[in-house]
Symmetry: C2
Subunit: 519 residues, 2 copies
């Protein structure tokens, strides 16, 4: 029986494994009856315009179909193990066909996607068949708003009102189960992220090669984008960041138009998608008109080498069974040690760490999952052993377990802000309660050191932290702007594999130098 | 008094003329009291994502401010002739500042924009000042949905409910008055469209220069986009279209990933924005691996030359006082004549024209206004002289006035579909009732001839039209795919000026040839 369906659905190594995703989803939900429904994104125009707004497929829908076409839906009949793709009405009309062409027909969809069945959405709900199918079908006959939906329906429920109610009560349950599936990547998904990384590496390299001739951020982005578009990977996992000088310290800067001026580095944080799967890669490139491929100052080189050391050390911790947050703490310890060596900080390393001084230089988390979203979903943490223990307490306990000799200092760890890693951090990869790393997770490791005026101002006006800063030395480093290095790491059974092939460090510098020599 | 205000608002040739736009708007509305309010676009994330969705500033807001920053508003106090820009709250919080930086401060806004006053939107409505200002201010204190708004408020109205009601009843009136302003461009706007055209011309030329080495659509788009991004014009007026082979006949195709295969032409329809003002330019490039810069077939060359003739003839009609629809008709007459000469059509030219046969080859209107929107707003037609006359009758009468000798044939002009030019055509530039061309309008002239399978199938199964088609000859032309040529034309006091500087025709072919020679 199972084999028959596989043959029917034409699943195979060359197709996105939608059917297998639907089955994993069913397993995680722990259900054996009902119909799972997800609506894809609709094509919409910009407000007050006849021009289409950018289209971004709903991720849950894609995970269950592998279909990047607009205005579709999917249903998975859990009892029958039947995956059905719902396509836009068969009669699309003159304007759509002549201006945009049409998406897949039923026949093409069966050929392209790992599904059991494809159907056209009927325009008129009254045309729907009778019985159980009516309920699912009627979902797609009704006008679907721009906001994607995910729902679970009871089989054979004929009353639309009951269906809607169930739909409304389940989304959180569904989302959690789906996240738990998505966080562990299968071979097909790993391969897409690998391909995205390969194109991204080529595009970063194109930027290195042109660097000796560039005078502004726009030219860096142009070199990057040209390669992605020519390699048919125009869709970016996020807005490319090409921030030079002070812009290198604005974490999600995306204007990318400033002239280099006296800037010392350009942070190029850019990664394309391949079939909706993200790559997320950052390289920091020296700006040096007179000596391309060399750091323009001792300070820039020192900061780069420090970030390099942090990254290499943390990548080595990406092992199954490890907690990601421990790499986060390790990063901050190395940053403190490094800034002490440079004289930017002064005093006791442990005191500095626990006062949270390093978060003024490294204000973001060390990384996140990568997948269909660049900041991919994280699995929910297991329920806390003692429900009475606060998050802060659990954080402190985890830290002491990791670094027992710091126990006395850890008692000073009274504020979560000291390890702030953005909103929602406690449910993220870097949360104290996050599940340990497992094989086939893909995570970024992206330490940075920034000289951001907002953060430095806050640091210096807080006496608890400013006592550890040597302002005179700090001043010399401010023109460095910022440095970040980021790779995508696949957790394997025995260790890890770095999926990011973009050159960095000396290899990157050599490419710039050689290209400059050739002119 | 007027002068004082100008000095205060720091208006000048180097600033976007927001104040002058507000005054024109007031004049068109014919009001001398009240407050005009427009909300800019808010920054939003993609649904179910922590990544920002693309931002596109609301056009009415931009027209009144010249401000491309998110989460702002504008109010224009008609009585006091005072233009106020409302900026996001002064205290943006840590996350916004460190991740995205902040937009203009009040001081920076006064420096940058042609406004009288800048204010921060307060987070709490209770903080608002008392009196008339409350009403306007409270608009911006309330959460603004993603949908931009335009409103007219009575001065000194203190009841919020009354304000909302007035706001809701006026949008159509406001939109019409604003459209009437926007359709006539001032010098500053013309200059922006000129600059957009210059960058676009450079980007098209980059595609020509690489053409001999390209094997697919993606490489054409990549060459185009690289130039735009490097020239700091990353924002496109519309999704670039690089359609080859059969894709050249899909009017708004934008996948841009197909291999050339046996394709004969690539239609490159792409134009960047400069400060939100559009360029809209199409070039059709020969695909010819063996002889770059030469048409790959006699048929492709014939169709290109025919479209070229149509375009040149129609551009000459872009004179003040002319009706645009007459150029539309002229285009169809030349297409009919040309297709007769090639043998694709057979029979009487006038009969063919009036049967609407040419709309199967040229299915879209000849052009549209260009401005803040690529399909820019059109002014409303004047009220029809006789309210009892139908649109079809007025269309027929206009046609007979234009071409008296065709009067007998024109009586057969019974269906508007014969001159279908897309939805909303009757209020567009190509409508029979559209006002005549005026100096400082900017319009496209973009004829095309396509061999689109959907349209040809419809043509051939309609005996009223298929009788004029020689199917055997037609078959030879189908592989041409499609040809379109498009320029942006400024109507001047005495004639017109072609703002589009991208090479076309022989000049384009020579660039491809020369670049191929150099390798």
């Amino acid at each position: 029986m199972d084999l028959t369906i596989r043959l029917k659905s034409k699943g195979g190594v060359d197709k996105y494994p939608a059917k297998s995703h639907a089955r994993r989803f069913r397993e995680k939900l722990g259900i054996n009856s009902g119909i799972i429904v997800a609506a894809g994104t609709k094509n919409l125009n910009w407000p007050n315009s006849d021009m289409p707004a950018p289209f971004r497929q709903d991720r849950p829908f894609y995970y269950l179909t592998g279909c990047n076409e607009p205005d579709c839906g999917v249903s998975y009949d859990v009892d029958k193990d039947k995956l059905t793709l719902w396509l836009p009405p068969v009669d699309l009309g003159w304007h759509q066909l002549v201006y945009y062409g049409r998406g897949s027909t039923v026949e093409e969809a069966l050929e392209k996607y790992d599904i059991d069945e494809a159907q056209y959405i009927k325009k008129d709900p009254s045309e729907a068949d009778s019985g159980a199918e009516v309920s699912v079908h009627s979902v797609y006959c009704k006008p679907v708003s721009g906001r994607p939906r995910l729902g679970l329906f009871k089989l054979n429920a004929e009353d639309e009102a009951i269906l809607s109610q169930q739909n409304a009560s389940k989304p959180d349950l569904l989302r959690r189960a789906l996240n738990a599936c998505r966080v562990i990547k299968d071979e097909y998904e790993i391969n897409l992220i690998r391909r995205a990384n390969d194109i991204t590496a080529e595009a970063h390299t194109a930027a290195f090669k042109g660097m000796h001739s560039f005078g502004n951020e726009a030219e860096v982005e142009a070199a990057f984008m040209k390669t992605c578009i020519a390699r048919k990977a125009k869709a970016q996992a996020y807005d490319p960041i090409a921030g030079s000088g002070p812009n290198a310290a604005v974490l999600h800067y995306s204007e990318n138009v400033a002239e280099f001026g006296k800037g010392q580095t350009v942070v190029l944080d850019a990664g394309c998608e391949v079939e909706l799967y993200a790559s997320d890669v950052t390289r920091t490139i020296p700006i040096n008109k007179h000596k391309p491929g060399h750091w323009p100052s001792k300070e820039a080189e020192q900061i780069y080498k420090l970030v390099e050391k942090v990254q290499e050390s943390c990548i080595k911790k990406m092992l199954p069974g490890n907690k990601y947050i421990e790499a986060n703490w390790l990063a901050h310890h190395i940053v403190v040690e490094g800034l002490l060596n440079l004289g930017i900080l002064k005093g006791d390393a442990n005191k500095i760490f626990h006062a949270g001084v390093s978060t003024a230089f490294l204000p973001h988390g060390l990384g996140h999952h990568v997948g269909l979203d660049v900041h991919d979903v994280s699995p929910d943490p297991p329920p806390p052993a003692q429900a009475t223990t606060s998050e802060v307490d659990r954080l402190r306990e985890a830290y002491i377990r990791w670094k027992p000799e710091a126990g006395s200092w850890a008692s000073e760890l009274s504020s979560l802000e000291n390890f702030a890693i953005g909103p929602g951090w406690h449910t993220s990869l870097s949360g104290a309660d996050a599940p340990v790393l497992e094989p086939d997770m893909i995570v970024t490791v992206e330490p940075g050191i920034y000289f951001n005026p907002v953060l430095l101002r806050e640091l210096l006006k807080d006496p608890k932290r400013s006592q550890f800063v040597d302002e005179e030395v700090l001043k010399r480093y401010i023109p460095v702007g910022g440095v970040r290095i980021e790779d995508d790491i696949l957790i394997t059974k025995k260790g890890y594999e770095n999926l990011t092939t973009a050159p960095k460090g000396e290899e990157m510098l050599n490419i710039i130098r050689e290209s400059a020599r050739k002119g």
